[in-house]
Each structure stands twice: as structure tokens, then as C-alpha cells.
Symmetry: C2
Subunit: 319 residues, 2 copies
């Protein structure tokens, strides 16, 4: 079998599910279940990059940051450092669990976890209307004080009356540091874990310095860009549903086993995918395909190995 380059984006729930508490034991078990499911790709000899979400973890890091300030007056770290922390902790956990999975399966591969900075355009229009809620909720008074002190932007919580959450922009990723090195490292079969949580958001200023900014990059878009930049053959998104559906959870719901570019854009324009959930995942796959990727698959985190599941997205339907 021809060796392929494959990028696999592990969704938040591949590591931690919404109904769980967030203990390390839960995270390790979920990670194990997810990784068991990609063993077949390693056995087939493909070269693999794993990326991952960090939603619940960086949320907890932000809350701890706040609590540490409140209880012990420990200086808070900015969002870029929190994302970097989460890449370290989650990447390490995935690497260690994967080492054990490979050992159990009699497979030998080296695995390295890289901290990844992803570049955005500081003039991205997303900065004009930040929409991505991060961290804890605050009462009106505190949110107004923080807005003044730190320049943070707040929006009312959709869940709780009179409470506010900080929102940041979600700009498009335009470049990924070390992408050549990543491409080179996987050539000998080493598995690379990179671009966690969409990458640490940075921009390049007028002096060509790298500067951090408060933003959150969509994990699937960043992973798709990484896949395109290393000329990956295939790009998989592992999430919490086994297929892409149109009209999901409506009477006329229909699962899609295949999706080509033209239909994907048609359905997207018709609002047939979940706005903040499935639509950006489909868009990430299209970004990959349009930059030369051959095939994308969106499926449930424990169903990748089962060919009965998963929506295959490609330029054209196969005959």
C-alpha cells in the first residue's frame, strides 16, 4: 500500500465530553478510545500528524488563572500563554497514551509533540466583531471594570441573565510556523502532534516581529491549513457525530456519505449545516480540497476505523 500523508484533527470530545467533569482520568480514557481507532492507519504505514482541540482544557486554565489572581494574587497569563499551556498538557497526554497504544499493538513509531504558533492577519475583519466566548462569566460591574482595565470585550451570556462573558475574535489562520519541519519529521514515520487548539495566535508586525494577540483560531481550519501546507493526501476531522447531515435533528434530516465541492457550497449557502458547528468543519475540508488535498473525512471520534461511517468530502463524486 502506498504511504499517505494524513492529518487527523481530534475534536474536543475525542478528549473530553461535554457531560464529563474534566478529570485527567476521563481525558486519558477518551484519548485512549480515540487513538485505538487510528491504529489501523499506523499499521498501514501512513505518515501522520495529529492536531487537537483544547476548548474545555483552555477554558479550565482561564478559570484557574482568574481564581489564582483572586485567591493568591498570582499574575494572570494572557490568552496566548494559556493556549500554549494547553498545547503542552494535552499534547503530552496524547503522546503518552499513544505510546502505550502502540506498545500494546506491537507497533513502533516515534512520537513528538510540538508547540505551534499560527499566524493571523491583525487586520482580519473578525477583530471588528469578536464572537468567541472564553473564560468564566462575570456580573455587569466586574465585566465593566475589566473592560476598562484590560480592554476586554464582553457580551451578555446567552445562558444566564445579567451575566457577561469575554469574547475574542476568531480570525483566519494564514500561516503555520515550522510547517516544513513538521513535514520533514513525519517522512520517516515519526508521528507529530501539532497545532493544538488551532495554534497559538500570533501576527507579524511592521518590524517583522512575532507578536501575540487575544484570539482563538478555529482548530479545524488551522488543521486543514497544516494539511494543505505539508501536501497531505487526506485530512480527517474526528468529532461527535458519525456523519455530516443536512437539516440535522430536523424531520427531514439526511446523512451524507459523500459530499463534493459543488454540493457542499450549495448546502452551505442554503444554511443546511449547523452554523457554528458543522459548517466550519465542512469549510475546513473544502479549504483542504481546494488547495490540492485528495480526500477529507468527517466522522465520529471512535468510528474512523469503521468504513460504514463517515462523510467523504472530495472535489468530485467518484464514479
Amino acid at each position: 500500500m502506498k504511504k499517505k500523508k494524513i492529518v487527523i484533527a481530534l475534536g474536543g470530545n475525542a478528549l473530553l465530553r461535554g457531560e464529563q467533569d474534566g478529570t485527567i482520568e476521563e481525558q486519558e480514557q477518551n484519548t485512549y478510545d480515540t487513538l485505538m481507532n487510528i491504529v489501523y492507519l499506523i499499521r498501514e504505514g501512513h505518515n501522520i500528524v495529529l492536531s487537537h482541540g483544547n476548548g474545555p482544557q483552555v477554558g479550565n486554565i482561564l478559570m484557574r488563572n482568574d481564581a489564582g489572581m483572586e485567591l493568591y494574587n498570582i499574575p494572570q497569563m494572557p490568552l496566548d500563554i494559556c493556549v500554549a499551556d494547553s498545547q503542552g498538557g494535552i499534547g503530552y497526554m496524547i503522546e503518552r497514551v499513544l505510546r502505550n497504544v502502540l506498545k500494546e499493538q506491537g507497533l513502533e513509531r516515534d512520537i513528538i509533540t510540538m508547540i505551534t504558533q499560527n499566524v493571523v492577519d491583525q487586520n482580519d475583519t473578525a477583530f471588528q466583531n469578536p464572537t468567541k466566548p472564553i473564560g468564566r462569566t462575570y456580573d455587569k460591574e466586574t465585566s465593566e471594570r475589566l473592560a476598562k482595565e484590560k480592554g476586554w470585550i464582553f457580551k451578555p451570556s446567552p445562558k444566564f441573565d445579567n451575566l457577561y462573558r469575554r469574547v475574542v475574535a476568531s480570525p483566519e489562520p494564514i500561516d503555520i510556523f515550522n510547517v516544513q519541519t513538521i513535514g520533514r519529521i513525519i517522512e520517516d514515520g515519526t508521528i507529530v502532534i501539532a497545532s493544538g487548539g488551532g495554534g497559538i495566535p500570533v501576527y507579524i508586525d511592521e518590524k517583522e516581529h512575532v507578536r501575540p494577540l487575544d484570539a482563538v483560531i478555529d482548530k479545524d481550519k488551522a488543521s486543514a491549513l497544516l494539511a494543505a501546507k505539508i501536501n497531505a493526501d487526506e485530512f480527517y476531522i474526528l468529532t461527535d457525530v458519525p456523519f455530516v447531515y443536512i437539516d440535522y435533528r430536523q424531520p427531514n434530516e439526511r446523512k451524507l456519505e459523500f459530499l463534493n465541492k459543488a454540493d457542499a457550497y450549495k448546502y452551505m449557502a442554503e444554511g443546511k449545516f449547523g452554523e457554528g458547528s458543522m459548517a466550519p468543519k465542512v469549510q475546513a475540508c473544502l479549504n483542504f480540497i481546494e488547495k490540492g488535498g485528495k480526500k477529507s473525512v468527517i466522522t465520529e471520534s471512535t468510528k474512523l476505523a469503521d468504513k460504514a461511517y463517515g462523510t467523504k468530502i472530495s472535489m468530485e463524486y467518484e464514479d
Copy 2:
């Protein structure tokens, strides 16, 4: 000039000094000052691995962990995850600042930050008498409860009456994951940041699984092992004094410009170096030299480039 392989261990105060608050601005400035000082090695074309301490940072992460549990009931992460988080945050900061330093200096190098697990022996005698204090202080009642609930070990705080701190073992590092990959990556000039905070401590169990444990590995010993394993030519420890001294801060204090193996062991046996401070640094250098390293230097973090400073440690004094 012949290209050398050099491992540089950045001490805690290369990133954050004891008298500082710990804000990100302070850390970035210290990091900048330290890195400016290694520019000459990059200009000379050497291949470089940077390691770093994490004391103040992981201390803050542990405190935040505690505060997050207390205020918001967020599950606490174990020590291994906290160390991994600190590697992510600190490694990213060093990488970003170094990118800017290189840009200012007109130097082009790729830089990657790797999350590093370091292996210890779970039967290391250090586990019989844990001595390394971590995290916050607790009153007697809380420390007894935590000892019961979590199996943590506490010792009285040397600073505060009736307060207790958790202690963990500081076992010897015996192996470093990905050391071949690190050696390979630096061959083309890419700078690698690795083994932060002494590495994430793990052991290999009877099933050859990688398991975490609660311990702290000495950063200098881990860095020396890394240097030896990649066959580095030189190993530098950047700390808060410009020389190794015997009888430091005593009337007969004497600075050492050179130190050979025999004298180092003699002084060490006589207790001429600070027990918990300089002695392990000298030992780390000796470990490197004994495994084939040519030269070690211990100096102040901003004085490496100045040849008037630094204690050179080698097998024999040069003629």
C-alpha cells in the same frame, strides 16, 4: 569555525527573577536579555538545543490549580500535566522571543519547541525520602486531609510556623524520549527548545507502558543527560552567578575560572559548593563530561557572551 553541538540550560532566573512578580512582561524581558546573550553562538553557526527551568511558573500553575478547585470546583490536574503545561507556555515564550531576536540580528534559523518526557526509575531511592517542596503552603488540618485523600507527603515549611508544604521526590533522569529526533532536527541548524523543567517525569512499568508519577527532575541533570545523549560538544548552565565559587559568600570565598573533574569531586566531598544550589549544577556538568562531553560552562544568564566570566569545567585543566 567547526560547527559544534551545544546544549544551553536556562536557569529559572534567566526567565523570572526571585524579586519579580511573575508577570508575562517581566518574563519576556528577562528572556530577551538572556537570549541576546547567546546570539553569538548562533552567529558562529553552532547547532543548539535550549532547555529551561520552570520553578516559578509551575509553582504558579499549581497554585492556580488549587484556587480553581477551591473557587470553581474545577478538577485539579496532576503534577505531570502541570509540568507539561509549563513546558508549553515557557517554551512558546522562549521560541517567540528568540524569533524576534534572530530577526533583529539578521539571522535565519528555524526554531521548534518540543514537549519532553524524561524517564526515571520508579525504584529510585529518592522516592523513599521526598525533599522537593511544590505548590502552596497548607495548615496542619488541610495537609493531613490531603495526605489521606491523595497520598501526598507533607513537610513543615522552613519559613512559616505551623504551615506545611507538599514534597515530592527528585529522582535521577535515566532516559529522554525523542532524543534521536532532537539530534536529527538540529543537524540543519534548527534550534530546538526541549526538556523544560527537567522534563515531564514518567517511568516504564512492567508492561512497558509509560506512566506518569509525582516527581520533579533536576533541570540541570536532565539537560546534561540530553547533552550527552545527542553527543553535544559543549554544555552550558546559565544561572544567577557569573562563576562557580568555593565557600560562596564566606570570608574565604574564591571564584573558579577553571575546574577539572578531580578538583570538582574533591571540593564536592568537602562541601565547598552550595548543597541544594551549586553542587547539583557542578554534578550535572561532571555527568556530561564523564559521558564524553568536552566542555561545560556555568555562568550568569547575561554573561555567556562575555569571555571574562564563567567557570569552565572539563576533564583536565588545559595546559
